[in-house]
Amino acid sequence: MPQKPHKAKEPLFHIAKRDAIVWWKAWGIRIAAILIALVFSGVVSYLLTGENPLRIYAKMLEGAFGTQRRVWGLLQNLAMLLCVSVAVTPAFKMRFWNIGAEGQVLVGGLASAACMILLGDKLPNAVLLIVILAASILAGAVWAVIPAVFRAKWMTNETLFTLMMNYIAIQLVSFFVYKWSVPKGSGQVGVINRATHAGWLPVIGRYDYLLNILIVAAITFIMYVYLKYSKQGYEIAVVGESENTARYIGIPVQKVIIRTMLISGAICGIAGMLLVSGTDHTISRDTAAGRGFTAIMVSWLAKFNPIFMVLTSFLIAFLEKGATEISTAFGLNESFSDIITGIIIFFIIGCEFFIQYTVKFREKEAAK
């Protein structure tokens, strides 16, 4: 029997990489994804609460912008998340997966708290604030540099190393929280220096969080310039694209890795200081509140551009505030916001595919 000639079946569709996409199309796709995600989470909220979805969205807006106090709260959350996101960005641009920001923020906060508690009544406030700043920068930088050195010298997997460092930081904070707890053994530090306000960041006018927000805005802008216009920023980008290329054109890769993580950790340390000495005036193992992990998503969603990060951290901060309001208004558990955040991030992650690739369907065979 003569064999039939083998005919390869063409798949229904195939995927091709786009050359480049006009910026408005890319943003159109992203905004569409966010809208679809909002509709989807509206449906989920409706199924869980039985409320009119429009009322749910109204509640979200009210929760985020309802009063002046809430707007400030939103801005403060935005600033803190933005600070950590900006901190992790240079490392990510270098393809160094630093998922240890949580720990780096915590040790920064721990250093601030230690200075406030131990030196609070020994130094004049201005000197104390400088000591606090230096200590938290140092703590955050040390926490980040340890994995960086091992990665640079021995190629130790940085994702897993930095992840483990988080939990060491959390337990270290727990240890000191019990040591310093007021009253003894309660497991809570309480407000540090409530009477003297020693080591508290000064308040501008009547706005509690304004100084934090201004500091973060400055850091964000400096980071944007650093990454875009400085020689070091360029080196980071080259190392991120290809370590071999970097080595070939004479960039000292090990030095760049360690230096970049030093910067990353130092900014995380500042974030810890802003949280402890500028916001909470206390320390606990929840001080970083998962921002170290959320920041990774924020930074990635913004394509590692510090200016876009203002938008993405606004989105996440808004969702958290809004969903918290929904959960109290409709008597749901507060973890509701995590579900909504998760859903929206899934959609945004997914939509990047349609920005980078096109799906080409099989063309109909011409009729003979």
Partner: protein
Amino acid sequence: MIWAGFLQRAIMQGIPLLYGSTGEIITEKSGNLNLGIPGIMYVGGISGVIGAFLYEQNTASVNPVLAVLIPLVCSMLGSLLMGLIYSFLTVSLRANQNVTGLALTTFGVGFGNFFGGSLSKLTGSDIPSISLTATSNCFRTSLPFAEKCGWFGQVFLSHSFLAYAAVIIAVVTSLILSRTRVGLHLRAVGENPATADAAGINVGRYKYFATCIGSVIAGLGGLYYVMDYANGVWSNDGFGDRGWLAIALVIFAVWRPNISIFGSILFGGLYIVHNYIPGLDVSGQELFKMLPYVVTILFLVFISMRRKREAQPPAHLGLPYFREER
């Protein structure tokens, strides 16, 4: 018999870690670094709780077979769905694995705490907290002659079927990975997907299957925790950081499930050793809870310095594979 008690507790602590790490090993062997494991384990736990809760609410007398089967199936479906989300985003839509995994963890932990906190309200029942004693008792059925065998019985025979299942799954996985063609193909996909692809292995399919099977296994760890360890009482954030510890265990076990059986008992022991050290105050206990992570870091550094080829992560771990971008 302090030692027997300690070992028994260590094994009970270790079982969820064993499930999590076996699941993550299968996933990582395909080159997917799934940081969503903590979230998946929460979902596995809460899905089982939801199933058991609905069953207990709607039945007069609890049938032991159904009481085990319903939560088991629900748990597996829940974590399978999580695995599908992860594989769809990272394999089909080629998204970044770290970001997807972390989003999955945010989502999963939130999902668990949300339903744990509002399940009774949503179903309109007036029970203040979820306590599934009847279901838990079915899950905790252990060998009847365990008590007669002294310390040996207490340490090794007193556990429930899910604990033994964890060990069996780990052994079988280990055999499949090292002795079968499927295992060989899977390892090839994780080490060098381009070569695997050229050899005619369907890379995408292997990644999908490995991730989904891994998720289901990891989810069982969450189920074991709620039903056995916590006696059927769901408490929010009760599962804690065990998911991350399971990922740590993967490194410690150098990507071999049979080593992670012993590793899980060791980690379980390290996790609770602070209860057994006399004269330790609360703050000292917190320092001791660092141990598993410190051990993991030291080990990670050790294997990277030694550069022994068998002890390295899969070469393509965490990297996406697109055929047209080689």
